[in-house]
């Protein structure tokens, strides 16, 4: 049990890490990773939804009639998304403002519905939570690392939480701000993906 638990958890961290291995959830990945902070915020919000919807769907998996299962998943996921939305508005408003429309859009994030359908609906609650947590943390790490690359090159800083950089390159550096602009997001993700392919091949 512990072994499979560990397996379900760790697969999200490398073998199936989104969005690199599962090329899904690209919109938030590209849109909000101007900084590490935004990446972490988006990642955690998604993780929250993943874990709780996985848990609930797994608990209800024997009750939900197959014909309306997608509708049920959607209701469950949308509920948690709305909760995240409200709570973030109330407690981390500046972050909510930067993440903007991408918080409600967690509801259509293919990763979330994908895990519900592919995993949670077929496994026990404990495993489902492990799966959600693993994928969620993997997603968060991806967003944070993409955010780190983009922020350090594009702004010359690293901001983990609260809007104040924990690291700045220095005044001599003119930030290569292409990286924090929209096109830079695609290019950075594309190059990181190529890097992962290169490592994976060896």
């Amino acid at each position: 049990m512990a072994q499979s638990l560990a397996k379900e958890f760790t697969k999200g961290l490398w073998a199936e890490i989104p969005p690199f291995r599962l090329v899904l959830g690209l919109c938030p990945t590209l849109a909000v990773t101007k900084s590490v902070e935004n990446g972490i915020g988006m990642g955690l919000a998604t993780t929250f939804v993943l874990v709780f919807s996985n848990l609930l769907i797994s608990l209800l998996r024997n009750v939900i009639p197959p014909k309306v299962r997608i509708a049920c998943y959607i209701v469950i996921i949308a509920t948690f998304v709305t909760i995240v939305e409200l709570v973030m508005q109330a407690y981390t408003y500046p972050l909510f403002l930067t993440l903007g429309i991408f918080i409600p859009l967690i509801v259509v994030n293919c990763i979330v519905l994908g895990r519900a359908e592919a995993f949670a609906s077929k496994n026990t609650p404990v495993l489902a939570v492990a799966d959600g947590l693993g994928i969620g943390i993997g997603f968060t790490l991806s967003l944070a690392s993409l955010g780190a690359v983009r922020e350090i090159i594009g702004a010359g800083t690293i901001t983990i939480w609260g809007g104040n950089p924990v690291f700045a390159v220095g005044d001599w550096y003119h930030p290569f701000s292409f990286m924090v602009e929209a096109p830079g997001a695609f290019v950075a993700l594309g190059l990181m993906l190529a890097g992962m392919n290169l490592i994976g091949k060896k």
């Binding site: 309306v68 509708a71 209701v75 469950i76 949308a78 409200l86 408003y93 702004a155 701000s177």
Partner: protein
């Protein structure tokens, strides 16, 4: 038939539980959210505009109907006794979309108090100077209400931020919109702040 019933029952139950849960979370966070919106979006601009008012414009806010939308109005009592209002307009066509502008107007002298950029998506260091650097918006200070607030390139009287003509133009559009809205709403505003 049984399947049908179970489908309906499950969905209905799920939906109502969800609705109830959300209603609860909503009511628990409602007040705080409104506070946050004011605190982060409007308060800085208003505080900067009305640095020397004797009242709390945020607390005394009221709303007016402009015909196609409702406008939040923040009244301020200046130290010299004159009355002012601030409200937010938006200027189309910035480099990264529309630009929000909080405009303060002295009701007694019919002059602009000033203007501050609230929301924008302009290029950092370029268009964002409209918000971060007050030199540009301070051109609006104490302008009479009938002043031509367009850019000089558009035969008006405002100097554009160098390298960010587009941002500047969007801000002036917002300011001109404020002029128009104010002249339209003035009677009602006067009524409200009596």
């Amino acid at each position: 038939m049984r399947e049908m019933i179970s489908m309906i029952v499950v969905l209905t139950l799920l939906a109502s539980v969800s609705g109830g849960l959300l209603a609860a979370v909503k009511s628990g966070t409602e007040l705080r959210i409104e506070e946050q919106v004011l605190k982060f979006q409007k308060a800085p601009a208003i505080e900067s505009l009305f640095s020397d008012v004797t009242n709390d414009p945020l607390k005394e806010r009221f709303t007016l109907d402009t015909g196609d939308r409702t406008l939040q109005i923040f009244p301020g009592k200046m130290k010299d006794g004159s009355r002012a209002v601030a409200f937010e307009t938006s200027g189309k066509g910035g480099y990264g979309g529309d630009i929000g502008l909080m405009v303060g107007i002295n009701v007694d002298s019919d002059q602009l108090v000033g203007a501050r950029v609230t929301t924008h998506a302009e290029t950092p260091g370029l268009g964002s100077r409209a918000k971060d650097d007050l030199t540009f918006v301070s051109q609006f200070n104490s302008r009479p209400l009938d002043a031509n607030l367009a850019l000089k390139a558009d035969n008006g009287s405002i100097d554009a931020i160098s390298g960010a003509t587009v941002t500047s133009r969007a801000v002036t559009r917002a300011a001109i919109q404020a002029q128009e809205l104010y002249s339209q709403l003035k009677p009602e505003i006067l009524k409200q702040i009596q």
